[in-house]
Amino acid sequence: MLRQSWQIFLKDVRMELRGKEALNASLAFALVVLILFSFAIDPTSEQIREISGGLLWILFAFSGVLLVNRSFLREQSNDCLDVLLVNRVPASALMLGKTFANLLFILMIEAVCLPVFSVLYNINLFQLPLWLIGICLLASWAIAILGTVFAAMTVNLRLRELMLPVILYPMIIPALAAAMYLTNIVSVGKVPEGDDLIWVRLLVGFDVIFTTLALGLIDTILVD
């Protein structure tokens, strides 16, 4: 099963890197929003330090949805999804491969946006690089796994671009809230400890619970 996931992953990444449609679009979107933030708040003030985590994760959630929206849409032409499933690719392998691909795309967006944000708003986000990477991995996984499952649910809807955010955002709020809080602490160079660790636990628990749920339920959505 892992081998099949790996192949799905490679296929998705290759397809996306060939055209780069979704990646370019959501990167451009992310950068535009980054600039818009400077109008919403005074970019030179100290205030930005307190809300940088919030701004960044709103941004990543938005551009993440643009990315995951594509992942099942890609299979719609020529009924690729049915062909894959008929050829006994397990739905869970399919979803796992796509989730990893989406995770990679979201991380790519983050890899561009974090330095740009640091430079434009004069904050060094990378004072604790390992913590920041850890937070990004955990929270992006949360966006990717739930995003992929919900993208599978909404792919046949006429209003899928609208419905995906409507059902996805309320569900990922716990993960986003944790990521926002932790990014805020880490960006001022403070190691999360004591009471802050409840947010780390929340983030890890969220990932574990929803990954299990997703793996258990994806067959119902895609197969029968």
């Binding site: 739930l146 499952v149 919900f150 649910m153 909404t154 046949n156 809807l157 006429r158 209003l159 419905m163 409507v166 059902i167 309320p170 569900m171 709020i173 716990p174 409840i198 619970i209 929803f210 749920l213 339920l217 119902t220 959505i221 029968d224």
Partner: protein
């Protein structure tokens, strides 16, 4: 016959609510710190319990529905979700009115309130999704899974007062604290109103369930009409 029983249960719950109104207004004394406003709790707490219970029923029904492809369980899930959402709005409205007096504000973003809001949004999203999928079997699968996912927010909302320090009051009922935090008469009153709400909830779910079956019948007849 069944209609009459339903009507009787509905009327019983209505009368029960009126009787409770009498007790809580004329028999029970004002609360020492809050004055008379505390009586809102007799509606606020039971409505949330009712809403949590209906979402629990909806979650279980959805799990059964996606497991055994049962249309009836699917109908029950929608019915319970929609009625639960109505009670969510009762809980939100009464809570806000209470907060306006006690805290001086209508709303605050603490964990409990935030998750109550998220829960309402999630289940509203579920009901929206249902209207968008025309194919019944696909609707059953997709929204069934969504409902199971959505129950996570109910759990978080229920446990929020234990996990975070919230502005929302912590647990007072004796089954959560072991007793001593609330006057037994007031606690009893809460249970009385809860039973009344529960009866009302059962009636509403049954009504809604029947509508869902009528809807299914209509869909079936429509398909029959098109196929000819």
């Amino acid at each position: 016959m069944f209609d009459k029983i339903l009507l009787a249960v509905g009327l019983t719950s209505g009368l029960y609510l009126v009787r409770n109104l009498y007790t809580m207004l004329l028999v029970l004394p004002d609360e020492a710190a809050q004055g008379m406003i505390y009586r809102i709790m007799f509606f606020h707490i039971p409505s949330w319990w009712t809403c949590f219970l209906s979402f629990l029923v909806a979650g279980i029904a959805s799990a059964v529905a996606i497991r055994s492809k049962s249309n009836r369980a699917d109908s029950l899930a929608v019915a319970a979700t929609e009625v639960g959402l109505a009670f969510t709005f009762v809980g939100l409205a009464t809570g806000m009115i209470w907060a306006k007096i006690i805290w001086g504000i209508w709303w605050t973003w603490d964990a409990r309130l935030t998750w109550a809001f998220i829960t309402a949004l999630t289940y509203a999203g579920y009901l929206m999704m249902r209207n968008m999928i025309p194919d019944p079997s696909e609707r059953l699968r997709v929204t069934g899974v969504l409902n199971v996912f959505a129950f996570a927010s109910v759990v978080i909302c229920y446990k929020a007062i234990d996990w975070w320090r919230t502005q929302h009051p912590g647990a007072v009922m004796s089954f959560r604290t072991g007793g001593g935090n609330i006057d037994p008469a007031m606690e009893g009153m809460t249970y009385h109103n809860f039973i009344a709400f529960l009866l009302l909830c059962v009636v509403m779910v049954t009504l809604r369930l029947r509508q869902e079956e009528t809807l299914r019948e209509i869909e079936g007849l429509r398909r029959l009409a098109y196929s000819r």
